[in-house]
Symmetry: C2
Subunit: 208 residues, 2 copies
């Protein structure tokens, strides 16, 4: 068995914000960064920061902290952000367009080869440099490209229908921005990005 990476979902979710802070610190020319410092910046317990950073395997130096360069590489490596990840996007509405133009995702290895939309007025050209094709061409195009990852930014009402086609075309990982709980066979992963959940939290937070 290779080294089994054990990391909880909350830990994984915190890593990007660590990376962000560390990057800023690197830009200042610093060579070491302490867990205490990161904790202060993010309002997190330094013990938690140390434990989270532990999953990267980078050794910190007492009194100094963690080597910035090495830590950045290790987090990126752990998240797979140092590798290119080909994908397609379905649904070139405002949210889809936002994701197509989101430089941060691109920097972290997301390479969207093609986008698809139902609306003929949106197809034929490019959005933020990515060609937009008709959903009618989706299945064959995905097979041709050999992509296994898809981003879903379509209206909820079509979500399951489109997901079925994606899976038929060989997609094995779906980043789902609709509020639909997709039914998928074994071996297909779905990561749901739920803005309603966030809005619910926001609302509760406001009225107390």
């Amino acid at each position: 068995m290779t080294k089994q990476k054990i990391a909880s979902a909350p830990s994984i979710r915190r890593l990007p914000s660590y990376l962000h802070i560390i990057r800023l610190f690197q830009r200042e020319g610093e060579e070491y960064i302490s867990g205490t410092f990161i904790g202060q910046k993010l309002n997190l317990d330094p013990i938690q920061v140390r434990k989270d950073l532990g999953i990267t395997g980078v050794a910190g130096k007492p009194k100094k902290g963690y080597p910035v360069e090495e830590l950045i590489s290790a987090i990126e490596c752990f998240l797979g952000w140092n590798r290119t990840r080909n994908a397609v996007l379905v649904g070139v509405g405002n949210l889809g367009s936002a994701l197509l133009g989101y430089q941060e995702l691109k920097r972290h290895g997301l390479n969207i080869l093609a986008a698809f939309d139902k609306n003929p007025e949106k197809t034929g050209g490019t959005v933020h440099g990515t060609p937009v094709l008709s959903v009618d061409a989706m299945e064959t195009e995905i097979l041709r490209l050999g992509v296994t990852t898809a981003i879903l930014t379509i209206p909820s009402s079509f979500a399951q229908e489109i997901a079925d086609i994606l899976i038929k075309a060989g997609i094995r990982g779906i980043w789902n921005f609709t509020n639909v709980k997709l039914k998928v066979p074994d071996g297909v992963m779905v990561q749901k990005e739920d803005i309603s959940s966030g809005y619910a939290m926001f609302c509760i937070m406001l009225h107390d």
Copy 2:
């Protein structure tokens, strides 16, 4: 002391998806819905569903389930989704435009009175029916409107600077879509919506 609502963040985050399922069920003309059914639809433990629904205070009937109509009202009431919540939005890029046009938020009480952008080419008109003004007018306009809630969809580099102005203008709740941990005084709430966290989870999910 009024009835103290105790609900964990995970429970609150699940409520919108319950609401969604229940609404679909209502549309089929059903009068009662069981926790078991909701759990099946969402791949959640029915015990968890029952406990979550318990926070709304709605009494279920053994053998039948929860009264659909009453449950919908109760969840909406708990989340404050039956009330109008005035807000402004800053940053009319793709993401900002997406939120301005997001009908679901509107249906759940979010009323965006005005949007602001730095770019003169974007100001003067409307986006999805919401007037877009210059950020230069932001402070006075917010004071005039008396709004206390803001949505932040600007590039990270301006996040803190803009947040400071918002707070000076009386904003007390910020829905923050940037990846910046905002520094705010006591009494100001920030709900951070972090797409990087979701992307991190997505990436980890893909390579195992």
